[in-house]
Symmetry: C3
């Protein structure tokens, strides 16, 4: 684990007037880079050859670094080069997936926005559950073995691979059949009650500088093949069985019933407060609480993402919610840059970077 003090030392050497915002070219990089630019930062996008076209075509990133593999960012020379340019790195879901939580904790010497201590709590399902339960959040029942399954459940596998391989089952028999079919033998898995209701993904931002947890926007995910399967009428599907899968392919904007917002806001605030008790500094910056709202208007949470989520890409020009908080279009990407700018001005950059 790279120590906070090591990052602080690096930050102290930074030319605070030339801080550059960099990110990996995928996931929410367009938004992060545009947001940084809107706040006046110089930007760098580090992308794999096959993805560079996106940042060329949309003309973002003052500087473009092309690498062969995302793990190349662990390379000492690349890291030194970025540190020389006073880079603050913005992590996102693909970054964590491609580079690996352990590698980030142990090998990324570049100052990163947010708190890398959260990775331990986010990447382990048991620790994550512990955190959320401590925050007073209602979660779906967890089944520790297939024998216990007594209702509809979702079976999930580790890693943020965008829902790949998840499946539904009603009982042990179905569970076993699908494990076999999916060739999941011997793999780790988690079995969670499948709560029926409307999915809701509120996007939060916790600002240590303002001591405030903001709710900036909300989305639902657009998943393949499930969101295509629903459009095949059951009469036609019968005798034509296709297993549903839950691979995220995009996002759709929503707003929530206003009387749900107290629950939504309190969840966000409680998660932040609890995090401070669990690890130093606690949760910093953007996060998303993946939840489902039942017909009794009760919100149940099945996961937390302790970083910017791709659903925020819908709101590059602001959301209905962020428009209330800010008088200018405020995406989550721009909000991150705004927090960094504000911290630099107040001499508090160490409070939001690790």
């Amino acid at each position: 684990m790279i120590q906070k003090e090591e990052i602080n030392q690096t930050l102290r050497k930074y030319d605070k007037k030339k801080v550059t915002i960099a990110t990996i070219g995928s996931h929410s990089a367009l938004q992060i880079l545009k947001g940084a630019k809107d706040e006046g930062f110089k930007t760098i996008v580090i992308s794999r050859k096959d993805q560079a076209i996106v940042y060329d075509q949309f003309n973002v990133g003052d500087e473009k670094i092309v690498i062969d593999d995302y793990k190349d960012i662990l390379d000492e020379k690349i890291q030194e080069k970025l540190i020389d340019k006073n880079v603050i790195l913005i992590p996102h879901g693909s970054f964590v997936e491609y580079v690996g939580a352990k590698n980030i904790e142990d090998k990324i010497k570049i100052p990163m926005f947010g708190n890398r201590l959260v990775l331990k709590w986010e990447s382990n399902r048991d620790k994550q559950r512990d955190w959320l339960i401590k925050a007073g959040i209602k979660m779906p029942k967890k089944f520790s073995s297939p024998e216990e399954i007594d209702r509809l459940v979702m079976v999930k596998f580790p890693g943020a691979k965008g829902g790949k391989g998840y499946f539904l089952a009603k009982n042990k028999k179905e569970f076993n059949a699908k494990m076999k079919k999916h060739e999941r033998k011997g793999e780790e898995y988690s079995i969670q009650e499948y709560v029926i209701g409307t999915l809701m993904y509120p996007h939060y931002f916790h600002s240590p500088l303002e001591s405030r947890t903001e709710m900036l926007s909300m989305d639902i995910r657009y998943e393949s093949n499930i969101d295509g399967l629903t459009r095949i009428p059951s009469a036609i599907v019968s005798g034509y069985k296709v297993d549903p899968s839950y691979v995220v392919t995009g996002n759709i904007p929503i707003v929530a019933r206003e009387s749900l917002l107290p629950q939504v806001l309190e969840m966000g605030m409680n998660v932040v407060e609890t995090s401070k008790k669990l690890f130093p500094l606690g949760l910093v910056g953007p996060f998303c609480i993946e939840s489902v709202c039942t017909k009794d208007l009760e919100i149940t949470v099945f996961e937390i993402s302790a970083r910017i989520v791709a659903g925020t890409n819908l709101y590059i020009n602001g959301s209905p919610y962020s428009q209330i908080l800010y008088k200018e279009p405020m995406s989550t990407g721009r909000r991150i840059a705004r927090e960094i700018k504000s911290a630099l001005k107040r001499g508090r950059i160490e409070d939001i970077v690790y």
Copy 2:
């Protein structure tokens, strides 16, 4: 019934330069308060203790009044206090639901934006149907008893409780079984043909000052559990029966095929024209015509909401439609404030407040 003249007298005593816009903290209050602020008004939010967090967190409402129960707004002292502050109250769905149509008609002495005479026509399904039919609008077949059910129907119960308890039935037997299951014995209900097509909720605004009915935006509702149920494939659902419910939990933005807009605009205009024949002043301000579009591109209407609907919350920063009409972001909430501002300027506030 509080007489129009009584409200007019109150209005005459108002300091027209200090008019304050107030609303109940729920439903579309964020939008209403932001819109009022954008138009330069002082604002007050009156909220129940458990909902106050929303208006604190989003930092809206120049003044905040916290009450124990929404019916407390009927209290003489609170009303006098608000009248002393030159308040115009903006009603919305939750306001009508929490306070009750009868209470609003008989006890709210505070000048309210819009025409409270519409409440009688909106809250009674038969009067509402009468109004819409007179306006030349196509409605689903109505069944006066379960015996008559000969197709798929939706059974609804009175009150704007966001779709709670509604159910589908194909025949008398299913109707009886579900009434029993839902413990709805002895309650009032309405049985409506369930027209299959795409739901569409256009948001209108009738301006008496401009003599114009505007179509400002459009949404679809995001309902629990039905919009979650659709994502469980039929093969899995079989033997795992869950009754659908239709509780509104949020909203999703849409635009309509442009060739449907003549129908949509004419519906709005006809509803307003007809209202003028049914009750003095007629419909004033925002309303929504809940409709479904069949595969033959015919729009059928199953309900009208004669006030701001929560679907407009999607468009706090303007909608594709409102952007054509206005050169600045125009939500329905802001449109209300704009009408009030305009009426104050022209000395016509009595034409839009009752």
Copy 3:
């Protein structure tokens, strides 16, 4: 076929300072007219009597021409009148549908934005397939006769009637039953594999002036009755069979997973490059590649629309994507006007009009 040189001659006679943008009142006319106005053009809307209300109500079109039938635009006098006003006509889906591709090619003497040579390639399914395959795009398997059907297929009929009459079938028997039921005997049809996944309709704009293919926005279609059918649980639908239909009634906004954008952008660029080899000038201006994304994140294309599509109506005030490219709200309609303005300034109007 009206020759390019004839159009060029007309253009040469135009008063370049008084160019007027005109379109047919339907489909995306609101957007086109607003966009043209935003770029400083005078505008004309030509609409059928029953649709004129839309353009009156939204107050677009500096001049309004009302005609009885959209084919009246073929009338020499109307065309001359428009040419006298230095009109550049913006074609859209309804224009092609109402007037007919052949009529447009042979009889429209008014300079049209884009390249009318594309109509031949777009209106013929075989030529269209040829074009897309040459561009390296993956398409669903095509079945040349009902006998060959060995999986779920979608059966489509010619003409851009917004999905009317399309149906699903799993085998020859179902195909025959539905052809009979839909009274489609003797009609032309195409049988395409029904690829299961999330539908995605990216909206592109190819600018010959900037030599750039932009991706401006993305939508999904909201179709009747299929998107209503999905909300009827299978348990209720059983014994209550309704055939799905796919008539477009509106659009819903989406963004795509960022790691899909290389595929999306390359498809757009390849389609443009290939078009240049197939016909002079190639594809110019807006187009949409109707596609589906499988659970393996592979994009399959089932159609191309080589003109502005109605899904862009969602983004009259800009999209998340167009906001990255432009610092002002850039709809596809406005992008068209911007290209015309730019071409006029550079003396290159002949490169983008035919």
